[in-house]
Symmetry: C2
Subunit: 756 residues, 2 copies
């Protein structure tokens, strides 16, 4: 494999300066002539029938241009799982019923945001309150009130996986244990609240600038919600301040802003407040996870039986995917020759849970990894040794689901053992001090076509110019994760150019090539990277032809692209600058510019993902047994993300993952009173801050993923999973208290220690 010039280096973000100096334009920065400001009226009740809505006082308020309710909008439900329309269960504005506190009921557009806010207060809604269900248990009771018509229970979706013969294998096991784990909700807590601006043209076509991870999905679903044709909607993604899964669906304000722009003939902006985000926003699924696992005496895993309830809140949102993936993550990391999974997605009268960084993995892997640690203790095997014994390796097959085409898990385990001085510390416990381990595997994008797209999954257009520059157009959405930097690197490397030679235009559904399914499931590096390479290779073929023609080269010559030049391999004088080669091709084409499009769709790659990342993390903690306070002293991580495209970016992703994992493990939680979220600001909702971050070391395992662009695969999403089980294990090592119910609060520790 040839050495890289750009790939693997510490390359600053292409949008770094713009963000740091305030030049970057986020949706809320957009100001258009005559623009109106929108606000939403949200339900104060968790479950109620809407008897009547009187908008007359609001509409009469000076400055108010339009007030709408669900009755004004086309009666269309939307949802991301377009392949299964039954799962699409949400109206933009509630019709007949509200199902959670914060459910959108009406919208106002006014000349000023304060007027819109005042008008919202003037809308009079008469509700008939209904009994609600606020957790999985009560939602599943026989006499539980049902949230949605057409269902006999509150279970909206289930998913089963089974291979081998689990029952037989359990019977043949030497050691079987069964545990129940519970995990809480968590906020995406992106720094930029959701925001959008819509404008309609004289044909009623809509352009929407929206803070989204998935421009193409918003385009299609918004068209459907407004009875427009797909291409009567243009979605432009401005700079986005984080998504983490929380911005990958069509949302109420997007529909309202587009509809109100059509009706008023003026642009309409909606920007959510932090309070709205926290009281009504999407969140990570709380789950109840029952896991049964069987081993041979020597630690060989025989079977696993996993039953997960997902607490979905009032609507499906991305619940089907979480339900689908949780079962797959349960089968990853270790060789489970016999496996059974049942996932059930349960409606409750709370804000809908949905996609969030890790997408089912942090929950499932907290359970799986904690249970591994519990089993290791019982079996008397070091938890790393137990993992090594069962670890998946390259070539392993999940029957009917996936093949693991590259795997650096064993190397990760060995590396993290070494770097954390595991054997030494683990064998010499000190009171109040502990070390623990958690591991993860993650997907590099999804294979299953739940959105039912007719396009390739990713696409890229590359133009090259005689001034030696290139332009990359793609619908891949940079939401802060750095995909524009990564795509620029891949193209620069492929064409032998520098970063500054590449311009990138991303994520405008009208002008970037159809289509890209969006930024979720860590898909973009692999999917869009492959599309970029496909386009680059078509360009290179043309430019190589120019060199071959100009220098009359034998057709077997290889042509190299390096240092801004195109030349015969080993004969650098038989070549020209890339710009000259472009000019040559352009002449040959009688003035046609040199352009190519590339595509990627995973084919014959099972149901889940074309490639999987792996990694292991060790946490060191101090626990104050008086107060139950946990101090995380050190995180050590070794992970396999294939070829590292941008070392600095991977480091940043790791830091961010640890921050999010730390919050999940220790402090973040929605405090609920029935259906009401009590902590709706960042004082009460406790995220770890910069000062809370532990020191961290990391190593990237050197692997090469054949299906990935230049050998790359997922980095930065899977890493959000190992932190909680590693900390929980370290707390157990320090105190003897094993926490199976996140977050691990001081109260739980004190209560747990008291029991021992």
């Amino acid at each position: 494999m040839k050495a890289f010039n750009i790939i693997g280096k510490d390359i600053p973000r292409t949008d770094g300066k713009a963000k740091a100096t305030g030049q970057a334009v986020y949706a809320d920065d957009i100001k258009l002539p005559g623009m109106l400001h929108g606000k939403l009226l949200r339900s104060p009740l968790a479950h109620a029938r809407i008897v009547n809505i009187d908008t007359s006082k609001a509409a009469a308020l000076p400055g108010v241009r339009l007030v709408i309710t669900g009755a004004d909008l086309p009666k269309v439900t939307t949802g991301n799982w377009r392949l299964f329309p039954k799962t699409q269960d949400e109206y933009a504005l509630a019709i007949d019923k509200v199902r959670y506190i914060g459910d959108e009921v009406a919208a106002v557009a006014a000349t000023d945001p304060d007027i819109a806010e005042a008008a919202i207060e003037l809308i009079e809604v008469e509700y008939e309150e209904l009994p609600g269900v606020y957790d999985i248990e009560s939602a599943l009771k026989d006499d539980a009130p049902l949230l949605h018509d057409g269902y006999k229970t509150n279970i909206s979706i289930d998913r089963k996986i089974e291979y081998g013969n689990p029952d037989k294998a359990f019977a043949e096991s030497d050691y079987v244990r069964e545990d129940t784990f519970t995990v809480q909700a968590q906020s995406h807590a992106y720094m930029e609240p959701c925001s959008c601006v819509s404008q309609a043209d004289q044909e009623g076509r809509v352009t929407i600038w929206t803070s989204t991870q998935t421009p193409y999905i918003v385009q299609c679903l918004l068209a459907s919600a407004l009875n427009l044709r797909e291409n009567d909607v243009r979605v432009i993604k401005p700079t986005v301040g984080g998504g983490f899964g929380g911005k990958m669906e069509l949302r109420s304000w997007e529909v309202c802003s587009a509809f109100m722009a059509q009706k008023t003939g003026r642009p309409v902006k909606f920007t959510l407040t932090r309070e709205e985000e926290l009281m009504a926003g999407r969140r990570r699924h709380p789950m109840t996870i029952r896991s049964k696992i069987g081993f041979k005496k020597d630690g060989t895993i025989m079977a696993k039986d996993l039953h997960i309830y997902l607490d979905g809140g009032g609507y499906n949102a991305m619940g089907p995917t979480a339900c689908f993936l949780a079962g797959n993550f349960g089968a990853m990391l270790y060789r489970y020759p016999n496996y059974r999974y049942l996932g059930e997605h349960v409606y409750t009268n709370k804000p809908p849970a949905s996609a969030m960084r890790g997408f089912g993995a942090p929950q499932t892997l907290f359970a799986a990894e904690t249970q591994m640690n519990m089993a290791a203790e019982d079996l008397g095997i070091d938890p790393i040794d137990l993992r090594l014994k069962n670890a998946q390796v390259t070539g392993d097959v999940l029957p009917g689901v996936a093949t693991i085409s590259s795997c650096g898990f064993i190397e990760s385990l060995e590396e993290v053992r070494k770097m954390s001085n595991w054997d030494e510390i683990r064998k010499n416990p000190k009171p109040g001090q502990g070390i623990g381990i958690g591991c993860y595997s993650f997907i590099s994008g999804g294979v299953f076509n739940w959105f039912n797209t007719q396009y390739n999954f990713s696409a890229a257009e590359v133009k090259v110019f005689e001034d030696g520059t290139a332009h990359l157009l793609t619908m891949a959405a940079d939401i802060g994760q750095g995909v524009e930097t990564v795509m620029t690197q891949i193209l620069a490397e492929a064409l032998g150019l520098q970063m500054g030679d590449i311009r990138i235009t991303a994520a405008d559904t009208a002008i970037t090539p159809q289509a890209d399914l969006g930024a979720w499931g860590s898909r973009l590096t692999l999917f869009n990277g492959n599309a970029v390479l496909d386009a680059a290779n078509k360009i290179k073929k043309k430019l190589a032809g120019a060199v071959a023609a100009k220098f009359n080269l034998n057709s077997i010559f290889a042509i190299e692209f390096e240092g801004g030049r195109v030349f015969a391999k080993g004969k650098p004088d038989r070549g020209m600058s890339l710009g000259e080669a472009v000019a040559f091709v352009q002449k040959m084409q009688r003035g046609e510019p040199v352009v190519a499009r590339g595509y990627y769709t995973p084919r014959d790659k099972g149901l889940v993902s074309p490639a999987f990342s792996f990694g292991a993390q060790v946490a060191e903690v101090n626990v104050d047994e008086e107060t139950g306070q946990i101090q995380v002293k050190q995180m050590n991580t070794a992970h396999d993300c294939g070829t590292v495209i941008n070392h600095m970016s991977v480091e940043g992703q790791l830091e961010g993952s640890i921050q999010m994992g730390l919050g999940y493990a220790l402090s973040e939680n929605f405090v609920m009173d029935g259906g009401k979220t009590l902590n709706t600001n960042f004082l009460d909702y406790k995220m770890p801050h910069a000062a809370d971050m532990p020191p961290s070391n990391s190593v990237c395992i050197d692997t090469y993923e054949e299906e990935g662009p230049m050998g790359a695969k997922e980095a930065g999403e899977g890493l959000v999973s190992p932190t909680a089980p590693a900390i929980a294990d370290a707390v157990h090592h320090a105190t003897g208290f094993r926490c199976t119910d996140l977050p691990i609060t001081p109260e739980k520790i004190l209560k747990g220690l008291k029991k021992m």
Copy 2:
């Protein structure tokens, strides 16, 4: 020829509602985070050496972020005639010398436009005043001060044409006359003053939103002015409020805003005031035109000898083209078997003249048409008969210059004679009432590659979608003339769709296909229209293939596109909707969208234009012999613009042309005191208003231009020429006074009448 569904109809402008309701975003409407406001310091002297500039007080003013002078910018001159770098004579900010009152000397960027304005006042410039020249005559004197180094006179450019043997032909003529005509400057008077906003990224690359007719030219020249690569500049054309030739060059404020954005790291906006536009803006060339013409007794033209001086002002600007075209327009309309032209472009210490609607034709044709009318009088031939005798016809050749591939001139003359009741009115003169004629021919875009582009002259990208819509991307610049509507019509017609099925994105150099040379010389309908058709035909080939494959059609079947369907000609059941055909091709292409690019470059079309329009206009006037006041009672026009693409648009262009021609004939003029323009507002600069407009009738002659898209050619620019000579002729018919010096003011009439 098949009947059209969309072409030739009264189709409302695609951007009409946005403009009428204030939704359209012009450059000055753009607001970006942290944006600075720029102002220019202009020279108060017409000709002076810059001894010293002290910007320290300005820079110290709170709120000022940057002050620059010519010394700060790269020392690069620019100009549109890139093929001849010697003609590129203008710095963005003056270096060493200023050459007209208003010449740009320094620029300020501040947090607020008022602060910028105040800072401008604080810049101290020490000038050494030089003697100036303010008209052609004094500029050409032997001892005239020279404006530019490297020239021996103030003549910067000349252009010669000669064919046949004019001297011999004059000797053989029965009647020869020689006249001198003078014409004044005129303002473009676009409603939107020039405005731009620039933003620079961390690589120093610039995005500029600018009110321009020529995004590609601005891109290339701005790159050159800042020592950037061509594609390090992205030009986005927002909605533009008129250009008329006045917005087709790179201008000082564009360079300053881009440079200051790079230096400050913040966006910088410049918007000119009307006063700046009128005191220093581009304008139509004043000319002195000496024309000698010879006839046989029967009225047959034998020869013409034309010598034109163009008063160019301080810099060349688009003077080379005006100089080039004036000579071509002198050879149009009539068969001149022997022809000689000498054009000389003269520097004077006034604001540079440049391109303006008609581009040399209104001046040349005022002279040519007035001289025809004078000759007709002397020869005792009706002026329409004299024209009919000599009129150019389809197939006529201008040796080495052009072939006239379609020509409806004779029909225009006959039509206008009929509709104006010419013979009746002309033969029965009434005191103070007159009828007069003027004619024109114009180009449909230019063939000569003065910009030295390496791309095709026009390009278009068409995407079609399975929802039955299409998207057209083009760099063709709509500046109010309606080209986006026309291109949408052409594509809709070609694909058998409706207007609302087409989305158009125009004129962003980064995302619309390379390249288009811009909106000037009435080029876009023909040039870009052909590119659109080329792309549409490629798309149609693919979709026709889908129908042929699906219905297993014999390959000789013709496939029709109509009513949103694609079907075998004569067998409408063997077909499908266009959207279904797209979906079929997309499946066949395994998810690749259906996209094609089309191009047009005129080849083997001489030096001037691939096609010429023709027309005749009759004016009826009343002249008050007491006051010299002229009242235009009626305009009758017949013209040949090939296939009419949009009848309403052609009517609008005609109305606008009459308005501009009326101002040129009667009232518009820059009142100068040496180099100083005295009328710098719309109270003092007298344009005709809506209330001044005469009733108008018009007929479009039915011709078909083989080189044009669906038979179309120029409409709306040539028509600005006949109005002045027609009115002058009518004034002569009413009063006996023949005016050869525009504008025809009451003072000139009274003076003229006194002489008789």
